[in-house]
């Protein structure tokens, strides 16, 4: 079992420039059903190295001709918000936005429209590594080979830290049900609570690892949610314990501002909720393993 993506995923790639094409190839090699690419104005053309992939002008055509149900977006920031909304309007139900650097103003509008017009659409990201169900389907930019099918659901605000925890878990023999990168932007689609709820219900998920970082208060809310609703074992890690206030640490959303968003507050909230917190990023895997032994 898995959440969001799996054997049923019929994926399209919006934005098949160099990055999109490179990752489309990687996803196909992993076994993901990539059914089409979308490149406005270039419908009917071919992408070098991906000659088997049909290219369309619009998302609607891919839904009509291939039954596409999931989209991954590599469109550069100026067109990314538009691409997300096009996917939603065409009937795509899972939209995974990899693009980093989308203006917050654009995402505020996207989120507003999705919430009001397309409540059934799940948006992951933007500024995220994507979603992978090991052995079934890889959607995004993560290195596939570090993953292993199993029962740990992973949800994270950081890309490379997700790879780090997955690598550690795999080395310990703990496979993953699905790993979801929710992204590092302040305005995003899915947040921790949504992902935690999916994992809580997924029969294929037996434990959860959650990776947060400084900025905002999603981790505090997640801690409360876990305390109230999640009975599966949960371990976590929070990045940015040494980050100075007022400085944006790479991710647009990773900033301690107005005295809010510090790692210490998040760790305290998680511990209060009875969640195991790894003391260092090198001990994420062992922290969960200890919980399961």
């Amino acid at each position: 079992m898995s959440v969001l993506v799996g054997y049923d995923t019929k994926l399209i790639v919006q934005g098949v420039g160099s990055a999109g094409a490179f990752h489309a190839k990687q996803m196909i090699e992993y076994g993901t059903q990539v059914v089409a690419g979308v490149k406005p104005g270039k419908g009917g053309s071919k992408v070098a190295g991906l000659e088997q992939l049909p290219i369309y002008d619009t998302v609607a055509e891919t839904v009509k001709h291939h039954g596409a149900n999931t989209s991954v977006i590599y469109v550069p920031p100026p067109g990314a918000a538009d691409a997300i909304l096009e996917a939603a309007a065409a009937g795509i139900t899972v939209v995974i936005a990899i693009t980093e650097g989308i203006p917050a103003r654009d995402m505020v509008k996207v989120k507003y429209v999705l919430d009001h017009e397309y409540p059934e659409v799940v948006l992951i990201g933007p500024n995220c590594p994507g979603v992978i169900t090991p052995g079934q389907c890889k959607v995004g930019i993560m290195p596939g080979y570090i993953h292993k099918p199993g029962g740990v659901g992973v949800v994270s605000r950081s890309g490379t830290l997700t790879y780090e925890v997955v690598h550690q878990l795999t080395a310990l023999g703990l496979g993953q049900s699905t790993a979801i990168g929710i992204g590092g932007d302040p305005v995003k689609g899915t947040d921790f609570i949504d992902a935690l709820a999916w994992f809580a219900e997924d029969p294929g998920t037996s434990a959860i690892f959650m990776i947060g970082e400084i900025g905002g208060d999603s981790e505090e809310q997640a801690a409360q949610f876990i305390k109230d609703y999640v009975t599966k074992p949960v371990a976590s890690f929070i990045g940015g314990q040494t980050a100075p206030p007022g400085k944006r640490m790479g991710h647009a959303g990773a900033i301690i501002s107005g005295g809010k968003g510090a790692a210490a507050d998040k760790i305290a909230a998680l511990k209060d909720a009875g969640i195991a917190v790894a003391p260092t990023p090198a001990e994420m895997g062992t922290t969960l393993a200890k919980l399961l032994s």
Binding site: A19, A104, R105, P143, E164, P186
Partner: protein, 394 residues
Amino acid sequence: MKIHEYQGKQLFRKYGVPVPIGIPAMTVEEALAAIPKVQQQAGTDVVVVKAQIHAGGRGKGGGVKVAKTKADAEDAVKKIFGMQLVTPQTGPEGKKVQRLLVEQGLAIEHEYYLGMLLDRATAQVTVMASTEGGMDIEEVAATHPEKILKEPIDPAIGWQDWQSRSLAKRLGLSGKAADEFAAFMRPLARCYEEEDCSLLEINPLITTKDGKVLALDAKINFDDNALYRHPELEAWRDPNEEDPAESEAKKWDLSYISLDGNIGCMVNGAGLAMSTMDIIKFYGGAPANFLDVGGGATAEKVTAAFKIIMSSPDVKAIFVNIFGGIMKCDTIAQGVITAVKEVGLKVPLVVRLEGTNVELGKKMLAESKLNIVAAADMADGAQKVVKAAKETQR
């Protein structure tokens, strides 16, 4: 991106948000010449001389002076220009004042706080207002949260006049001041939206004895992700306000922040970069910087990043911590080797590589014959680099 108060007020003027009469000055002479002009335009002798630095709390540090006469104003200009202004936000070393704003003095009736920023929880821009103007608003939020009023801006229709009326009522504004407040808010909300602001603070917003509403201060930050839509803002960047290493990093599109420690870090991914700082601290070291080389970096970019790290005299050891996803380990290895060949390696270098093309990357580093300490994993690397930094420091 941050801008100065006087630049923020120029922006306000463009949108029609009322601000006091004022003239910015880049030299003492310009400031002295501005005094009679402001006095004449405003029809009053009272002027305010304000230090223009990006940090807040300027008044407390002596960077803002009200002068009742031309002579007093000239004194204030001479005193403030060039001073090392220390505020709670500058750190103990302070910030040298190289720009001034000479502004008309006003008969203040009351001071308010007004802020606009993105509320992550609702994913909407929120207007915050308080009768406790002129105060440290974070302190008000902590001690009297009920004194901070909030009004969200609907992303579909924008700020509405009824919201201004509602806020005015709750702030105790009535009559002409309430009307003026609505007229103030309309262009302000438009400015926030159209200029892609990420933070807008007016502290204080004032009402005058004759019922006017004006922005006495202007603190504006812009969304870095949206700067491509506003190329004209580049001219407002003040190099004196930016860390030279951070500016150099920006040219290469690297995410870099200078810190106080002595261990240089080069990492891919913001989360891993932050956590690398954490684990260095955990093992008793102190990071000299945050550096995320990003996912799609080229060897040239990695070389540039490495040079920026090595340019700091404080750096006593370097930790390269890479988990290759899109980033390939051989690209990192190539960038490091090139940088070391160009500028030499004066301090110990600890490298931890994992992920895409890891074997190739390790092989390249081994064959380069550079003096590199290989780390098995993150914890091993962190311990080795902390130890190396301590030994070099001695």
